[in-house]
């Protein structure tokens, strides 16, 4: 069984929000978990980590149940959260001393090599580190015990573009090992444009789609044209139609079909992940 993570009909209900999701990730790939704020990304990740209790459904990590085998699973998971939740007052080395002892496979040499790569001074207190360095510290903690699955919940929010690129480089390196898997949730989709293999798009607690990034890029498009063309279209083809003074724009999931119907009268552009998210969030379907 090669799926490193399987989420099956996972449900969680709150008073004004409810989650119902299914998706899976195979070893060797990075899945971008995208969606607007409040869509349910953090909730899903917390459910996987058993920080929240599910109402129903199944979560399997490495083929094991995430609650029954919680400890065993956590030995093999590296986590990076959106903020620094480590102890501010401790130094990097002290913090590492505490964390490392929980992991059977902690590799101190690996840890030291990462310190060098990231240029992190272990004698510094965590509160003395910049936000970017704090995230790198989290990443080092997540990577130094040979974790197979790396779960990242909005790791790049609040970081400048240079640091974000550095992070993506590192993730790229990690994926050279085809046994590892990475789940990266973010609302900054530009980060994923270069690195994601799979994309799972969640909105208002539901999965909108889960597929390869290639599929999205090859079949989806942003269509622009004159407003009168809106009459001619197939039902359901144009998603998230936005009209302005000079024309309309929309997302299509079947570029070829759009070309068939409209011919040269429209412009079809390659969509970014942000486009794909944007037009589907509360768009008008025509």
């Amino acid at each position: 069984m090669s799926a490193i993570l399987e989420v099956d009909n996972l449900r969680k209900e709150y008073r004004d929000f409810n989650l119902n999701v299914s998706f899976s990730l195979e070893r060797g790939y990075l899945m971008g978990f995208i969606g607007p704020n409040g869509a349910g990304k953090s909730t899903t990740i917390k459910l996987i980590m058993n920080l929240l209790k599910k109402d129903s459904g199944a979560i399997k990590v490495f083929g094991l149940d995430n609650v029954k085998n919680e400890i065993e699973i956590k030995q093999r998971i590296g986590f990076v959260y959106d903020q620094n939740y480590y102890y501010d007052e401790l130094t990097v080395e002290e913090m590492k001393g505490i964390i490392s002892r929980f992991y059977a496979d902690w590799d101190d040499e690996l840890y030291r090599s990462y310190l060098k790569i990231f240029d992190l001074d272990p004698r510094k207190k965590i509160k003395e580190l910049s936000k970017g360095m704090q995230m790198k510290f989290s990443l080092i903690m997540a990577l130094s015990h040979h974790a197979e699955l790396i779960i990242m919940d909005e790791p790049t929010s609040g970081l400048d573009p240079i640091v974000r690129r550095e992070l993506l480089q590192i993730l790229s390196e990690i994926l050279q090992n085809e046994n590892k898997g990475i789940l990266l949730s973010t609302h900054i989709t530009s980060d994923l444009d270069k690195i994601a293999d799979y994309i799972t798009f969640i909105n208002q607690g539901r999965i909108v789609e889960t597929t390869t990034r290639d599929f999205l890029l090859e079949n989806y498009g942003v269509v622009r044209g004159k407003k009168e063309l809106l009459m001619q279209t197939d039902k359901g083809l144009l998603i998230g139609v936005k009209e302005n003074e000079f024309g309309f724009e929309a997302l299509v999931k079947d570029k070829a079909r759009a070309r068939e119907i409209f011919g040269d009268k429209i412009i079809i552009d390659k969509p970014t992940l942000e486009d794909i998210m944007y037009y589907q969030i509360d768009g008008k379907v025509v």
């Binding site: 790939y29 994926l175 690195i195 799979y198 890029l217």
Partner: protein, 124 residues
């Protein structure tokens, strides 16, 4: 080995890779037995998904251009020499067709075109 991909053309990236590697083989820049980068390495360097590179390699393998050797990597397959020659001839033919078209546009005669070809052949 140079592979340059573009995000802004319509052609899917995996097809661009397939084409470029095919050309490298046809042109002789990649020869039988040469090692190709792993799909992951290629993905990392080009900053694209490993699914894309995997797909490209699968198509190249299907078309007989490359071979995957378990545990060792991916290599340029022994090429059917006749087929290779035929493909190379086709490239020349295509380029000549281009030249013919270009000549017609400016009303160059066949004789003048042949003269040009002779000179170039001796120079280049």
């Amino acid at each position: 080995m140079d592979i340059i991909i573009s995000n802004s053309v319509d052609e899917p990236i995996y097809e661009q890779i397939v084409k470029q590697i095919k050309n490298l083989i046809i042109n002789g820049e990649l020869e039988e037995g040469d090692a190709l980068p792993s799909i992951r390495n290629l993905a990392k360097e080009l900053q694209i998904s490993v699914i894309t590179t995997k797909r490209a390699y699968e198509e190249l393998e299907r078309d007989g251009f490359i071979n995957k050797v378990a545990g060792k990597g991916t290599f340029v397959a022994p090429q059917n020499q006749a087929l290779l020659k035929e493909r190379r001839l086709k490239v020349v033919e295509e380029k000549l067709a281009e030249a013919v078209n270009a000549a017609r546009i400016i009303n160059l005669s066949l004789g003048e075109l042949q003269e040009m070809l002779k000179i170039l052949y001796e120079e280049v």
